[in-house]
């Protein structure tokens, strides 16, 4: 089987591993995806004759709680990576497990918010505001779900990969962490734009 080059040591031309360069290039493309969605939000909102403040329709306490959940998960994934750098696998499992758990908590809270809207007969087609809300938070939730799957995989396969190639696991966790932090940053902007303004 062909080995992917420079997953452990840095590529001389760039000074970073291909894993890190790859995830940063992916995040750059993600900036354009969410940039397009944010642009659509701004254009629709400023062009609309009337726009309801988010707090009249959405639950600010639930949105704020989810913000704190994602911030906490950013901390735990940093701690998981630092534990691997320090060759402490037990602590890695603890913090990566917490990261997965917090990601699931975020999605469960989101599901409750969606269910509440649907129970009141409100969906993406009900109004321009709700169309934008469901689109932006839906795309973001898909990213959170993807991150949970990747983090859970790194948690489940961690022991085997750690025994075979510890630096490779450390680099993979760093890349997964970069994606997770990006998802956190997107929510940091989504929360005030949709819930507070």
């Amino acid at each position: 089987m062909m080995e992917i080059p420079y997953t452990v040591e840095a590529r001389p031309e760039t000074g970073v591993t291909n894993v890190k360069l790859g995830i940063w290039l992916f995040l750059a493309s993600e900036v354009m995806l969410f940039g397009g969605l944010f642009s659509a939000y701004v254009l629709l909102r400023t062009g609309a004759p009337a726009w309801p403040p988010g707090w009249t329709i959405l639950s600010v306490p639930l949105g704020a709680a989810n913000t704190l959940v994602l911030i906490a998960s950013s901390v735990t994934i940093v701690m998981a990576w630092l534990a691997l750098e320090d060759r402490d696998v037990t602590e890695y499992w603890l913090f990566m497990g917490l990261t997965v758990l917090l990601g699931v908590v975020f999605l469960v809270v989101k599901a409750f918010e969606y269910a509440d809207k649907f129970e009141h007969g409100l969906g993406p087609a009900s109004s321009m505001f709700l169309g934008v809300y469901f689109t932006l938070t839906g795309v973001h939730a898909l990213h959170v779900a993807s991150g949970v799957v990747v983090n859970a995989y790194l948690l489940a396969s961690g022991a085997a990969l750690w025994a075979r190639a510890p630096v490779q696991l450390t680099n993979r966790v760093e890349a997964a962490g970069l994606f997770w932090h990006f998802v956190d940053i997107v929510w940091i902007f989504l929360f005030p734009l949709l819930y507070l303004l």
Partner: protein, 105 residues
């Protein structure tokens, strides 16, 4: 390796405080302009903390900065185009083509 617990938890505390500030300021129900300015400024500070400390952008290789700069320039260009777009164009209904009923596919 000595783990930088203090830095990690200081950033975490900063992010929590900034979130509380955002919610507290929003509760005052300021006019739309100032409210958006405060909310987005606090969000920018929070995003910078995450990027600089958790994503290690304080100390990175030049190639990573180049990728971030490229994404930033393209994002600013995109948002700049939004800023100069005439607002009324979005709300203005599209005139039907000659010979077609409004709303017909």
């Amino acid at each position: 390796m000595k783990r930088p617990y203090l830095v990690v938890f200081a950033v975490f505390a900063g992010l929590v405080v900034a979130t509380i500030v955002t919610v507290a300021v929003a509760a005052w129900h300021l006019p739309a302009g100032p409210a958006a300015a405060v909310a987005l400024a606090v969000a920018a500070v929070k995003a910078s903390l995450v990027a600089l400390f958790f994503m290690h952008l304080r100390r990175e290789r030049r190639v990573v900065y180049a990728v971030v700069l490229l994404a930033g320039v393209l994002l600013v260009a995109m948002m700049g185009l939004v800023a100069v777009t005439e607002r009324t164009q979005v709300a203005r209904p599209v005139a039907p083509a000659p010979g077609r009923q409004p709303g017909a596919l």
